[in-house]
Amino acid sequence: MESFVVSLTIFVLAVVVGFEIITKVPPLLHTPLMSGSNAISGITLIGAVLSAGTQHTTLTTILGLSAVVFATVNVVGGFLVTHRMLRMFRRER
């Protein structure tokens, strides 16, 4: 129970901080915000890495491997496409 309360504390604080920061993102950048934040949600990758690497059972290894593939597409694709987009936003010459 104690560890749950700690996790919950972290969760609530992160949501509040997230709201504070992200409300300041201008509509101009809402698409890169979505793709960039999406790449961040690919953080599940580290859970996937543990599942695929601990070799607990064949099933967990397969599940872990599939999760690594999905999450890596999410992370690599997300950050890369965001970078591509953001580089296009330029000021007046």
């Binding site: 560890s3 749950f4 972290i10 969760f11 992160a14 997230g18 409300t23 300041k24 993102v25 201008p26 509509p27 101009l28 950048l29 809402h30 698409t31 890169p32 915000l33 979505m34 999406n38 961040i40 949600s41 690919g42 953080i43 599940t44 990758l45 580290i46 859970g47 890495v49 543990l50 599942s51 695929a52 690497g53 601990t54 607990h56 059972t57 967990t60 599940l63 872990g64 999760a67 690594v68 999905f70 999450a71 890596t72 597409v73 999410n74 690599v76 694709g77 997300g78 950050f79 890369l80 496409v81 970078h83 987009m85 953001l86 580089r87 296009m88 936003f89 000021r91 007046e92 010459r93």
Partner: protein, 462 residues
């Protein structure tokens, strides 16, 4: 690497995510912000790879290579017009990964001696439910955006009852997972139920409401990651997931407000094809004035301030590059040019801005609705291209209209309006637009791209 060291690395990664998102609050710092986020991710992954519990790197490496290859190809080859599809796919993959990780954790916990804790059991059920829904919902959204699945409102009699029933089944299966985690099949059944819910939730959503759905699924993919964080008692997952969850919720709220509709109305209300605003013949009959590119070029040349209002039709016609040519040609003649962008223009939040940025429009010229609306009174010419419902004054005047109360771009306050459009066909809301029949409006009928190219040509000649 000790557990404390790994957790410190996770703390650093979480901070990098936060500062990365903070960088996205301004276009000047945005590129660096995104790189900070990527650095945080790299740090978290490297720290995880040093975890002593990892026995073999073969599978991990194989997964990295396959995933990175697919991700890179997708990211480099995707057209900017197809960005909503791309984000939908990425949302789905994030949700899918959460389902798989939570599933693997459950299978592992069941094999170990002792029962998994309550937090883990509840979080696993939540992760499966949200992740499964996100995965399939996103795939349907992708299908709709790509045109594989019809963009129309797809529904059937008793749709809502089936949704409720499925929700009840999913909750019951979730409770089973919590009470008897040893029965792993309950978890997979829960995923199946969540998947069907995801499909049925997105099918009835029409094309113009896609921005809301994409934002909502974005939020869910974050929440699924956060739930997986609770499964693994992993703080960086919880932090990163909740940041993304918050971000998606904010965008969902902004999109709903920009259409003056509630989230449940978007998801369950059907939308589109409404009545109101009077029949088309009555609104347009004899009052619509058609014009030519030469006439519009003259009008533009004599203007001091021009506002261009793009909509999804601009993306469909791929007219963004010629529009930039037009804008810079006008700029060269000392005409002040700005773009007025409605929050729900396009198929995802910010879609128009990305397309115009790609076409080299400087971002100072891209104005959001609140910035541009007070300026229409001092605007000589508004050029509407591919937008319809978001410039329909009926939203302000007719309380019975399906778009009543929706904030619109007040283009009818400008001295003159030119609308580039193929025909007088209605927009997504299915209602006629009195703006087209206004005495200050000229209609330039034709394909968006060709019409703008003609305008650029006519400007050159004059």
């Amino acid at each position: 690497m000790s557990l404390s060291a790994i957790n410190l690395a996770y703390l650093a990664a979480s901070l990098l995510f936060l500062f990365g998102l903070k960088g996205l609050t301004h276009p000047r710092t945005a590129v660096r912000g995104n790189l900070l986020g990527a650095l945080g991710m790299l740090l978290a992954i490297v720290a995880t790879l040093l975890d002593r519990r990892i026995l073999s790197y073969q599978m991990i490496l194989a997964g990295f290579v396959a995933g990175a290859a697919v991700g890179t190809i997708l990211a480099l080859r995707i057209q900017m017009t197809a960005m909503p599809q791309m984000v939908a796919v990425l949302n789905g993959f994030g949700g899918g990964a959460s389902v798989l990780v939570a599933g693997a954790a459950l299978v592992e916990a069941v094999h170990l001696p002792g029962s998994p804790g309550l937090q883990m059991r509840i979080a696993t059920a939540a992760s499966g439910l949200i992740g499964g829904l996100t995965f399939w919902g996103s795939l349907v959204a992708f299908g709709k955006l790509q045109g594989v699945v019809s963009e129309r409102v797809l529904t059937f009699p008793g749709h809502r009852a089936v949704n409720l029933l499925l929700a009840a089944v999913a909750v019951a299966l979730g409770i089973l997972v919590v009470l008897d985690p040893g029965q792993v099949s309950s978890y997979w059944l829960l995923i199946a139920a969540a998947s069907v819910i995801g499909v049925l939730l997105v099918l009835p959503v029409g094309g113009a409401d896609m921005p809301v759905v994409v934002a909502l699924l974005n939020s869910y993919s974050g929440l699924a990651a956060a739930a997986t964080g609770f499964v693994l008692s992993n703080n960086v997952l919880i932090i990163a997931g909740s940041l993304v969850g918050a971000s998606g919720l904010i965008l969902t709220g902004i999109m709903c407000r920009a259409m003056n509709r509630s989230l449940s109305n978007v998801l369950f209300g059907g939308g589109g094809g409404g009545a109101g605003g009077g029949p088309a013949d009555e609104v347009y009959g004899g009052k619509v004035r058609s014009t030519s590119a030469d006439e519009v070029a003259m009008l533009l040349e004599g203007a001091r301030r021009v506002v261009i209002v793009p909509g999804y039709g601009m993306a469909v016609a791929q007219a963004q590059h010629p529009i930039q040519d037009l804008a810079s040609a006008l700029g060269a003649r000392d005409v002040e040019v700005e773009f007025g962008i409605h929050p729900v223009a396009g198929r995802m939040p910010g879609h128009m801005n990305v397309l115009l940025a790609e076409a080299n429009v400087p971002y100072e010229q891209l104005r959001d609705m609140d910035e541009v609306n007070p300026t229409f009174q001092e605007t000589d010419v508004v050029l509407v291209i591919g937008a319809n419902d978001v410039v329909n004054p009926v939203a302000r005047t007719d309380p019975s209209s399906p778009i009543a109360g929706m904030p619109i771009l007040d283009v009818d306050k400008a001295r003159s309006v030119v609308v580039i459009k193929r025909s007088l066909s209605p927009g997504f809301a299915g209602i006629p637009n009195p703006l087209f029949a206004d005495e200050r409006t000229l209609m330039l009928f034709g394909d968006g791209k060709k019409a703008v190219l003609d305008l650029v040509e006519a400007l050159k000649e004059s």
